[in-house]
């Protein structure tokens, strides 16, 4: 089967500013693909070109086998969109918003009621279908937008920062729905994010910075390439612990921040072995992953926060949003 998204040398310039400097990548059908980068890196510009919202300056992009410039309407029919900013009508009910979408996308009339119920149940909003959207919380609105983006059974769902501005609990709920989607729908998901913990849910991530793709790989591989997990344990007898770690696991540990600290490739899988084989009681364990900044820094040379507060960034961001 052909790639769900195929991009070759895609470029976008605004005057002298190159927002996207010729990117190449392919997304396989059924994949969850993430674009990771700071604001202003070109994520939204790229997604906007793929969604036919703006025309590329150069290069080609195909979505679902259709060219984004030459077959704009075909592409639009085959994609679902969830933007950073809400695009719901607050004065209409949830159901009215979805019905509007169904009509606009020409969903066959006889299929609408079943499909409507299905997508609303998927995001747990079926019982709120008759409420006006303006009474919804931010998380509910985002869920409704996801449901709406799925209503016409798109082949590719584009999510631009799907959880930005939401509280952690809602964020994880949204991710729950997205993960479930992968099993219930025959769909490819293309998303952008600047949260590393969210990029974990992707099959592959492209790190984008200053309009260029720096690296594309699975989250595990990316993290492994950056460094190992840091494990900290407390036992009450640090010296013996360090000695046992060396003897049994061939690990060099040291006392840092008052705890026995060492690095392993995948900390979470190591912890059960640690309990089984260390041979002494452990009071507490903590495993920390390489952070977004670690991964980002090793590929781009700056932290994501520095990249976001760099000079001229506000302007780049405005450009990147294509307004």
């Amino acid at each position: 089967m052909n790639a769900a998204v195929a991009v070759h040398g895609l470029r976008k310039t605004y005057g002298d500013v190159e927002a996207v400097k010729g990117v190449d990548f392919e997304v396989a059908p059924g994949e969850v693909f993430g674009f990771l980068g700071p604001n202003g890196a070109g994520k939204t510009t790229t997604i906007s070109m793929l969604c036919t919202l703006i025309n590329p300056t150069g290069g080609t992009a195909e979505v679902g086998g259709h060219d984004v410039v030459k077959e704009r309407d075909e592409v639009r029919r085959n994609i679902g969109l969830v933007f950073q900013d809400p695009t719901l009508d607050g004065y209409l009910t949830a159901e009215q918003n979805l019905r509007f979408h169904a009509e606009l996308y020409g969903v066959p009339k006889e299929a609408v009621p079943d499909r409507l119920r299905q997508v609303l149940e998927m995001v747990a909003l079926w019982d709120r279908k008759d409420s006006k959207v303006m009474t919804f919380s931010g998380g509910m609105k985002r869920r409704l937008e996801i449901a709406r983006g799925l209503l016409h059974s798109p082949r590719v769902l584009f999510l631009d920062e799907p959880t930005v501005g939401l509280d952690p609990q809602t964020r994880s709920a949204i991710w729950g729905y997205i993960n479930r989607l992968r099993h219930t729908e025959d769909i490819t998901i293309f998303m952008t994010t600047h949260y590393m913990d969210e990029a974990e849910y992707c099959d592959r991530i492209a790190i984008i910075d200053h309009g260029e793709i720096v690296v594309i790989d699975s989250p595990e591989a990316l993290k492994a390439s950056v460094g190992e997990d840091r494990v900290q344990i407390q036992t009450g007898d640090d010296e013996t612990t360090i000695k046992l770690l060396k003897e049994r696991f061939d690990i060099d540990a040291a006392v840092r921040e008052g705890q026995v600290t060492f690095a392993v490739a995948s900390g979470e899988q190591f912890v059960p072995r640690l309990f089984a084989d260390l041979g002494m009681p452990i009071r507490s364990v903590s495993v920390s992953r390489p952070s977004l900044d670690d991964v980002f820094m090793s590929y781009t040379g700056s932290t994501i926060r520095d990249a976001e507060s760099g000079p001229g960034n506000q302007w780049m961001r405005a450009m990147a949003r294509g307004r």
Binding site: I54, E74, R77, D85, T87, F100, E103, Y105, A111, R180
Partner: protein
Amino acid sequence: MTTDVVRVSVPRASGSHNLRAVKVVLHRELLRFVNDRTRMVSSLIQPVLWLFVMGTGLGSLVRASIPGIDFRTFMYPGMISMTVITTAMFSAGSIVWDREFGFLREMLVAPVSRSAIVVGKCLGGAVVASAQGVIILALAGLVGVPYSPALLLTLLAEMFLAAFTITAFGVMLSARMRNMQSFFGVMQMAIMPMIFLSGAMFPLANLPSWLHVLTTVNPLTYAVDPMRQAVFGHIAVPPQVDAMLNPGVTWFGHKLPIIAELGLVAAIGAVLLGVAIAQFRRSE
């Protein structure tokens, strides 16, 4: 989630698909109107004030010079136009609102032609404005206008046409507007002079020539005049009063027939609609 997934396949673009888009944009306009009682009431206040306060006050002043007719009867078609125009402009302005709140994007990224969306919006504005006009129609009896079905139907059709043209004008304006304040600013600037110069508030007979020219080039004049002629056709008015209050519009000494006036309004509406569609095609 083990339920069977309902797959829907979205058909290729076709006339009927675009027609559905027109209908749903129109339908949304109606839903919004029905849900928004405040707007319904607030756009009635102005014409009602004009009709019953200004009309009554001025009426007692001019009663001697227009024997046999209530001045409010004269103002009535003008106030219908005013209601329709304000409501239609509000509807068109909601595009700016939709842009600010993001909903416009939902419409613009859909696999339908932009013209379907613009046409739906203009029809929606026209229907909503006519509905609002119907409320004023209901007041006919209070100002001495008979509830004749023929008259009411004529007025309804004429106000629909006027509303469509005005909505198209508003949609064209809103294609480039980014916020509501500037839209309202421009709307006030355009609408107030147009209403003042349309014959909605004072008769267009015996005006100084500069004012006569201005009223003749004002497109709204051609929307108001047919309504006034319809009303005056259904009441008994002495000929000299009719000549004063209902002079019609003359071009180079010839009185323009109603059908020509309506044709002009429709033509302007069509042109504005075309420009509005072109603007939305170009944007984003």
